[in-house]
Amino acid sequence: MKVKCYIQGMAAISPQQTFEGDITTAPFVQSDSNRLVCIEPDYKPYIPANSLRRMTRVLRMGLATALKCLSGSGVSTPGPIVTGTGKGSLQDTEKFIKEIEQYKETALNPTPFIQSTYNSVNGLIALQQNGTDYNNTFVHRGFSFENALVDSLMLLQEGATHTLTGSFEEMTPEHFYIKSRIGQWREQPVGNTHLFDASLPGTISGEGSAFFVLAAAPTPESKAAVTGIKLLYKPSLERLSAVLQELGADADLIISGANGDSNYSHYYELANQVLAAPTIPFKHLCGEYDTAGSFALWLAASLLHAGNIPADWFPMVKELPADFKKVVIYNHFFGEQHTVMVVERVSS
């Protein structure tokens, strides 16, 4: 399979000021909480008021990110829409389940039920943009976004000129509490400023939405190119080491999913040993969530396009590389789904 596509447009909503897309001037948004929450834009310029009133948070985030991405790419019709989400609309799911109990399985509101399905965002994008092409949502925990990306690559190989590929994820207070019971989060508040001060069990939670218009052929407007991807389920350290060497041996920059969680830090320590290039983390910017890899891809492409790394965003890194052309993203989701993505600068 040919593994190459070009990022023609991209947009992200995250706990950082990413929606306007200028990574070089946006400050690092600090938080004292172990639950990083997205900075949401004004949705009214993107979504009609009559539709907006019915949508919960993640639907607004996903739809607005997709529309912003399309508008910045010069593509008017989205073509195939391929997304990934680990949890979909948690807010709608929680509301629907609570009402089943509260109203004894009768008189249930249709809206939370409809919107709790994982492919709601895709449907909304297609409805608003009159898209009638291929439309698919992958729900595979820590592989969700990366499977959407692999599917997009295959669609491009089969002849699609471009795809709209993305992810969306939200964290609710209730779900945060549930996951805290199984030790996913730090017991003491560390926020994103002290995440890497010590390696202890647990990390900080996050959420976000990122979309990309991917094309089979480059144009002068191409932001970056995705040139490699590998998905590994619970790999042995030997297998992981071999894949990292295969894809990242000549990388100039590593974007690491390290999240300060001592339960799974040995994988990232291995990556540091195997890969010689300078490493920057990204989970202090977006937190941990199923589709955090999409934020990492947005970050990699943004850095490659800008040509420099804003030092303000990476206070824990003493020396940032001045020049980089090939970026390797290594991430895993609580030790189970491991992903490696290669992103390269497009030569003009």
Binding site: R53, T106, N109
Partner: protein, 85 residues
Amino acid sequence: MEELKQKLKEQIIEALNLQDTKPADIDDNAALFGDGLGLDSIDSLELMVLLERQYGIKVEDPREGRKILQSVQSMAEFIQSKQPA
């Protein structure tokens, strides 16, 4: 009847999250769907749920529902007709 219509308007606004609409903006006889308040088919299902939850009335026949949900006036008349004398 007036009290019921006022309450119904407040409940419709809350159930459908009509953020920029006030009860006074809804005319008793204006159409809820189409040109009037601009509601759609999902809203009609939400209004059916409202009738069931708030007033204990279950509308079984969809054709009957179309007449009931024409306006606040028709909804109020229907509710009143179902309430014990």
